[in-house]
Amino acid sequence: MRKVGVIGAGMTLFRRRLQETGKEMCFEATKMALDSAGLTRADIDMVVNGTAPDAFDGVHMKGEYLLDGCGGYRKPYTRVFTGGGTGVFSSIAGWWHVASGLADAVLVVNEEKMSSCQPHPQSVFAHIWDPILDRPLRPNLIWIFAMEMNRYMHVHGVKKEDIARVAVKNKRNAVGHPCAQLADPNITVDDVLNSEVMAWPVQRLDISPPSDGASAIVLASEDFIRRRKIKDRAWMSGVGWCIDSTMWTDRDLYFPEYVARAAQTAYKRAKISDPRRQIDFAEPYDPFDYKELHHLEGLLLARKGEAPILTREGVTERDGDLPVCPSGGLMGVGNPIAATMGQKIGELFWQLTNQAGKRQIPHEVHTGVAQAWGDLMQYGSVVVMSS
């Protein structure tokens, strides 16, 4: 396998509704990523597109629809999809294009335009349930997350205040992010605890709402990076992905085993034997505040039940010992599903190349991990990056 580096990244504003079409959003993010890498479309060998269910944008064969905005015209082009896991998984697909030697320079472009779906994307989320066992009950997707959150709280005796701290931290971290939809410099734990109950224990400010946006990265081989004398690069030192049982009822919801397995694969490749010591910062997937905690444990960066304690003690703050979601994450920047690659892989690149501006972690960092979560609460994708 060849060494693969991220050499550019870009993302659009994340907003509830953007005027731009999905293609136009892809173009903006792609152009930004190419410009930041100092490349043009002609330098790109292959293109990967990542985007979640077609039903969000309301365009079937969304990958084909978005391809011109992704820079894929007349190039080898593939859309990949692992639900919310696409936010990190598409960069893994880009990685194998380069690591295998098939391509020297690859664009990965992720997009979601959830505002097209009316009155709310929740109506199409309903179609991911089993049509015979679940859908006749007319479930709402938040119910199963609420049950997962409840199970996690129950097993470890976690208080809601400690979970709310994640929402507060990430919405405050997002204040420095130029694309942020949900930044709030003044939010408090009480604001979260007093917000509307959606499906107990999930309240309005525990969850990141639907959004529109796109993000893009450029990947290149070590040889290409040397030849082009590219200075700003961060190596993808480990990748892993794993899916759990198709029946969400078969899992003990308190621990994401699939994330742990994906992380172990990625750590092995990155030669990381003690993640808590060897990883300097993390961008776990945080569409809900409790998910950051859940995923920190899945990523083996905290012992089971320890993530809320680390959060309470300030360890996961930007200036803490293990900064978590310095980008502001999904809770602070926004959640256009696949496009959250911008806060995950994009943030690792910006932090590791000292381009994170106001979000820059104040101490030196060399290794970060990003993770996304998807399909029906069962999919983990993990990427380790190093300077």
Partner: protein
């Protein structure tokens, strides 16, 4: 054993009914906004111009798919186009015969990349590749800024 015979009545089997309900509002986008406003208010079609590639895109795009430049220059599409391909639809989407075949065409314009698919406003016997056509628009007051503001394409010389 499973159901091997073709059936037209799925309700003969134990079954559940479902509906993938989904409604959408699509934004026409940055380039689309220019195109549809010009169509509605000016009664004309615009293409976006890529100076570097010497190309005009119809429908207009915000970017050149080839050189990836952002496109901000718009030009008028020539009023006269040509039929590049035709089809006569005899059945509707459910397979029911139409009372009269519908004529559809791909219309292209000289010097313009792309084209439009639309109704061809001629009898099936007159539909042919190479026919010179122009857009027939709805009256100003009936136009809303949509592709259906164009009723179809009609021959330049009848």
């Amino acid at each position: 054993m499973t159901f091997l015979d073709r059936t037209t009545d799925a309700r003969r089997f134990r079954q559940w009914e479902g509906n993938m309900e989904a409604d959408y509002i699509y934004t026409s986008g940055v380039a689309g906004e220019r195109f549809f406003v010009a169509l509605r208010d000016g009664g004309k079609m615009l293409a976006s111009r890529c100076v570097a590639c010497n190309l005009d895109y119809l429908p207009p795009r915000l970017f050149c798919e080839d050189c990836f430049a952002e496109l901000s220059e718009f030009v008028d599409v020539p009023p006269e186009g040509r039929v590049a391909a035709v089809t006569m639809a005899h059945l509707d989407r459910r397979g029911t015969p139409l009372s009269r075949p519908q004529v559809w065409a791909l219309v292209t314009f000289e010097g313009i990349r792309g084209g439009l698919v639309h109704r061809l406003l001629v009898p099936p016997a007159k539909a042919r590749v190479g026919l010179a056509v122009r857009a027939k628009l709805k009256a100003r007051g009936d136009r809303v800024g949509a592709v259906t503001d164009i009723e179809g394409f009609e021959p330049v010389r009848s």
